[in-house]
């Protein structure tokens, strides 16, 4: 039993760190989708944040500045998306995909001179006594600031969406943009702000990878995490708390399969690696089959183009 406990502690800690980039990106996209916009460009925005954050942190020596720069980079990418889809009324799916493509290429181009440069790690929290608790110590009290920030964003986003007037307006815009417009709310502006927020969150998510998870920049280092984050929003039925569970699930399965391999079980590694994706499909199916629940929680105007004049 104690051997299992020894094993469990590090796995929990690893799960939290693996979940963090997913959490940031998915929470950002959740707000965007609640306002009625579907932004498939999360992967591109994450990479923009990863490369810019790394460049700034490496040049200034401050990872805090790096994270801020990453948020700005993601925000700028989001603005590009916003201008195209909300200003020029372009198709949201196509624009999101273009953003991903552009983000992958631009980040690779910009980051060329920065590959292989090591930088200092983001320091981890250390509370004497608490951090050393068995099993939960390192997981709960030994993480770095971004992990805690990510966890804090869950109630923060929830509070914003469901307990503030601004959040109510945002959700109204997502549910029925025609009615919101008739009531005098500036639909395009609200959505644009939501998209900017989503971009900033994705940027931070990307920077977490390049500044903390593996403190280096490598082309395409997000390796599909942006798409996973998009999936997480759906199977969380657009509820922030569920996004956290989903991120833990995905992060947990990913880490667990590595441990299974290390322990030498005779399951082929490739089949184990499939588990996170299969798990995502299963949970997605389980959530989506309740059509009523989906309809209740999915913003009714998700992906629909809004034009004030019809």
């Amino acid at each position: 039993m104690s051997e299992f406990a020894v094993f469990l502690g590090p796995v929990l800690a690893a799960m939290l760190t693996a979940a963090t980039p997913l959490l940031f990106a998915a929470l950002g996209e959740l707000v965007v989708e609640k306002s009625g916009v579907l932004n498939l460009g999360v992967e591109g925005m994450m990479l923009a944040g990863a490369v810019i954050g790394f460049m700034v942190a490496a040049s200034t020596g401050s990872s805090t500045l790096g994270f801020i720069a990453a948020a700005v980079a993601g925000l700028v990418m989001g603005a590009l998306f916003g201008v195209l889809t909300l200003g020029l009324l372009a198709n949201q799916v196509a624009t999101g995909l273009a953003l991903t493509l552009f983000g992958v290429g631009l980040s690779a181009l910009v980051g060329q001179g920065w590959v292989g440069r090591p930088i200092a790690d983001v320091p981890e929290l250390r509370i004497p006594g608490l951090t050393d608790l068995p099993v939960i110590g390192p997981a709960l009290f030994g993480q770095d600031a971004l992990v805690y920030l990510g966890l804090a964003m869950v109630p923060a986003v929830h509070w914003f969406l469901f307990s503030t007037r601004a959040g109510l307006v945002l959700r109204a815009v997502g549910e029925n943009h025609a009615a919101a417009h008739a009531l005098g709310y500036k639909v395009a502006r609200i959505r644009f702000l939501a998209v900017l927020f989503g971009g900033a969150m994705s940027g931070i998510a990307g920077a977490y990878l390049s500044l903390d998870y593996t403190p280096m920049w490598a082309e395409n280092m997000t390796a599909g995490r942006g798409w996973i984050a998009l999936a997480l929003v759906v199977f969380a039925t657009w509820k922030p708390g569920r996004v956290l569970l989903g991120a833990w699930l995905f992060g947990g399965v990913t880490i667990a399969q590595l441990h299974v391999q290390g322990h030498g079980f005779a399951v082929p590694a490739q089949l184990l690696s499939m588990l996170p994706y299969l798990a995502t499909i299963l949970v997605l199916v389980a959530i989506s089959r309740d059509v009523a629940r989906i309809r209740l929680n999915a913003p009714a105007c998700l992906g629909k183009v809004f034009h004030p004049d019809g």
Binding site: G116, L258, Q261, G262, G264, P268
Partner: protein, 358 residues
């Protein structure tokens, strides 16, 4: 008179053209095809270092071109073909997935010389070359066997191909000779270069009690993971000290420059022929990065002796008796594995935890 003048003019023109042509063809064009970015600071980077050495030593006779990030598959053939079509007379393709595309292009350009790294197909104008990485793994095995306190070595591996498997086995065999209690745990990342995944794999192994990480993947992420925890790691393809100054015990450094210079000289002199080169430490095709000062002197001495023994032939990394994981003896005592057996190695030796994906 007019005719003679014309003839003279013609001859003069021909001479000028010929001379001009000769000047233009003076420099041999050598092409390099890399599967990854040279900024990976690992495998492709080292090949490019070899190319730079070639330029430094033979720059007056040679110009080089490189193409990086060439995906293995249908695109590779086009890139190799373009290099050949654009006048490159010696082309190095540096990943095993380029084997069949190189062969196909070689058949189309019989006057161009091709060299394929880590492959096994040759033709009249296609040679193969590789390095005996497993020799380096043997020395690494002794070092990690002595440095580990938990007796668990974590191995971040890419794909279950013989080159990787023989590396794992060579290390394990040497490690168990100096530390029979140590074991090796392997995690497959299914990629040559994926820093976040490599970091995850390394951390999972560290969480399972490993205190040394060895890798056969190309990024320095595992080194960083070990450094963060204050544990040990061994670099791959390239000296990765700056990514983990305390953790980096040593690295197996690929050294292609000497081979590239040698083969280019042969093309220039006209003595190039297709053959298979599988060079080891004694041929200068790989060496070990400087040892971490924290390694005790007696371990360093032991490692140096092993290196000398490998170079002199006194010690073979795969000398029998060797038992595989099931206990079956695959190499009897008194013999050692042949080159062909090493090239086809598809089993793990005793001491490796986990089955080989088949």
């Amino acid at each position: 008179m007019g005719k003679a003048l014309l003839g003279l003019a013609g001859a003069a023109v021909a001479l000028a053209v010929g001379a001009g042509g000769a000047v233009a063809q003076d420099k041999l064009k050598v092409g390099f095809v890399y599967v990854g970015p040279i900024s990976d600071h690992g495998y492709s980077y080292q090949h490019d270092q070899g190319r730079l050495q070639l330029e430094k030593e033979l720059g007056d006779k040679v110009t080089t071109t490189y193409v990086e990030n060439v995906p293995e598959g249908a695109d590779a053939e086009r890139v190799i073909d373009q290099l050949a079509a654009q006048g490159h007379k010696l082309i190095f393709t540096t990943s095993f997935g380029f084997m069949n595309p190189t062969l196909k292009v070689a058949q189309r350009y019989p006057d161009v010389k091709f060299e394929h790294a880590t492959g096994y197909k040759r033709s009249a104008n296609l040679a193969t070359y590789s390095a005996r990485f497993y020799e380096g793994r043997t020395i690494v095995g002794e070092i990690v066997g002595k440095m580990t306190k938990s007796n668990v070595i974590g191995y971040v591996a890419s794909f279950p191909i013989p080159e990787v498997v023989s590396g794992i086995n060579a290390m394990t065999l040497a490690m168990r000779k100096v530390n029979p209690k140590a074991e090796v745990r392997v995690v497959w990342v299914n990629s040559w270069y994926d820093p976040p995944k490599e970091a995850e794999a390394a951390k999972a192994l560290l969480d399972q009690g490993a205190d040394v990480i060895v890798q056969h993947t190309d990024s320095p992420a595992p080194i960083q993971a070990a450094e963060e925890r204050g544990l040990w790691a061994v670099g791959q393809s390239s000296d990765m000290t700056r990514f983990g100054p305390k953790a980096h015990l040593t690295a197996i450094v690929d050294d292609w420059g000497g081979y590239y210079v040698d083969r280019t000289k042969k093309v220039l002199a006209g003595g190039w022929k297709s053959e298979d080169t599988w060079g080891g430490i004694k041929d200068g095709m790989l060496h070990l990065a400087p040892y971490n000062p924290a390694i005790p002197a007696d371990v360093v001495a032991m490692a140096d002796k092993t290196k000398a023994d490998i170079v002199s032939g006194a010690r073979h990394p795969f000398a029998g008796p060797i038992k595989d994981q099931s206990g079956k003896e695959v190499i009897p005592a008194g013999k050692h594995a042949t080159d062909e057996q090493i090239l086809k190695m598809d089993y793990f030796v005793e001491g490796v935890v986990g089955k080989l994906p088949k």
